[in-house]
C-alpha cells in the first residue's frame, strides 16, 4: 500500500507543488473544472474562426479532443495515482491502450470516409 510519503505532489512538470495529497486533489479538481468550463464555453459560442479544417476535422474539434486527452491524463495520473506507480505498470497500461486505440480509430475512420464517398458517388441516390 502506498505510504503517505510516496505521493508525488508536483503537477505541470513541477510548476505547481502541493503541500499534501489532499491539497493536490483539490488543485486537480480546479484544473479539470476550468478545462470543462472552457470546453462548454467553446461548444456554446462555436467561434467562426475555429471552423477551418485541419486533417479532416475542424480546429474546434481538435481543441475538444486535445482538452479531453488532457483531462484523461490528470484523472489517470492524479486520481488513479498513476503518477505514483512504477514505470513498468504505467507503460503496460498506457502504451497498450494508446497504440491499440490509435490503430483502431485510424482504420475505422478511414473506412467510414471511404464508405461515405461510395454512397456520395453512387449511381443511385440514397436520399429519397
Amino acid at each position: 500500500m502506498a505510504d503517505q510519503t510516496a505521493h508525488k505532489l508536483e503537477i505541470f512538470r513541477g510548476l505547481i507543488k502541493f503541500k499534501s495529497n489532499t491539497q493536490k486533489i483539490w488543485g486537480v479538481l480546479i484544473f479539470l473544472s476550468l478545462v470543462t468550463i472552457v470546453e462548454v464555453a467553446l461548444g456554446y459560442i462555436k467561434p467562426n474562426i475555429l471552423n477551418n479544417h485541419l486533417l479532416g476535422l475542424k480546429y474546434l474539434n481538435w481543441i475538444f479532443i486535445i482538452l479531453t486527452l488532457v483531462k484523461a491524463y490528470y484523472i489517470t495520473w492524479d486520481f488513479m495515482h498513476m503518477r505514483d506507480e512504477v514505470s513498468g505498470l504505467r507503460r503496460a497500461v498506457v502504451w497498450t491502450s494508446v497504440f491499440l486505440i490509435t490503430y483502431l480509430i485510424a482504420i475505422l475512420l478511414i473506412e467510414g470516409e471511404y464508405i461515405y464517398q461510395i454512397y456520395k458517388n453512387a449511381a443511385v441516390s440514397f436520399d429519397f
Partner: protein, 332 residues
Amino acid sequence: MDTTVATTGTEGQVWGGGNEPLGASYGKLMMWFFILSDALTFSGFLAAYGFSRFKFIEEWPIADEVFNHFPFMHGTDAPMFYVALMTFILIGSSVTMVLAVDAGHYMNRKKVAFYLLLTIIGGLVFVGSQAWEWKNFINGEYGAVKTKGGKVLQFVDANGKRIALDAFVTVGARDVANQGNSEGIWFETSTVTTATYTLDEVKEAFANRSDLKIRTQVLTLNEKTGASEKTILSREASLAKLETDGVSVVEGANLVENEYGAPLFADFFFFITGFHGFHVFSGVIFNMIVFFNVLIGTYERRGSYEMVEKVGLYWHFVDLVWVFVFTFFYLV
C-alpha cells in the same frame, strides 16, 4: 505494511504471484488489467460511433439541437448545460472518492465512510440525470416525417426555427372502436396509432400554413461562417418532398427511428451511454458494499483500506470514460 494486507495468501511466494514486480498488490494489478480491457471495449464502441458518423458525415444530427433541455427551464434552449452539470457531478464524486482513498491511508474510518457516502450520492444523482436525459430523447420535442429512404423531414417556420407538430397539426377523426374486458383488447382501429398524428393530417396542415418549410437531414456548408447547417428547402420543394417521399410520422427516438435524424445516432447514444450508465450503476453497488464494510470495520481489522483504493480505481475509470463520451456525443 504490504505483508499485513492478508488478502490473497500469496505473500512471499515468488511463483504464486507473491512478490510484486510492479510494486502493486495482486488486487490492484488485476483491477488495472480489467480497466485496460474495459477501456478497449469502450474505445471499440466510440470508434464504431466515429465510423458511422464519418459514413453519414453530411447528415449527422447536431447534438446541440437534440440535448438542449434543462430541469425546470421548460422551453428554453440550453444546449449542453445539463451534460456539463452531469460532468461536474461525476468529477465531484471522483474527488470525494480519491479523498476517501486518502483518508484510508491514514486509517481514518469515519472520514472514509463520509467521503464514500458522498461518492455514492454523486453516482446516484448522475444515473438519475442520465435517465432524465434518456426520457427527453425518447419523447422527442418537435416530431418529424420519415421518408421512403428512411431519412427525416423536419418542419421550420419563416425564421428557420424548428416548429413542433403540436403547434400546427390538429388531430382528425379516428375510427376507434372501444372494446372491453370481454373482447380481450382495448380498442380496434384502422389508423396507424404509433404517432399522435397521421401523415395525411400533417400534409394537410402543412399545405394550409404557407410560412412553413421543410428542413432535411443534409448538412451544407455556410460559406460565410464556415459552419455546417441543415438544408432548408423552398416552399414548393417542401410541398413536393412531403407529398412524394413522406411515409410516416416520427415522434421522439428509439432503436428504429429518430426524429432528430439518423437512427444510428439514437442506437449509439442508447448503447454507449447505457453501457456507461450500467458501469456507474455497478460502481455505486461496489461503493455501497465497501461503504458498509467500512462501517462494520472490516478494513480496520484487516489493517488496510486497499479495497477502497481498488473500487476507487474503477470509479475513476467510469469518470474517465464519461469525459470521452461527453466529448464525442455532445461537443464534437
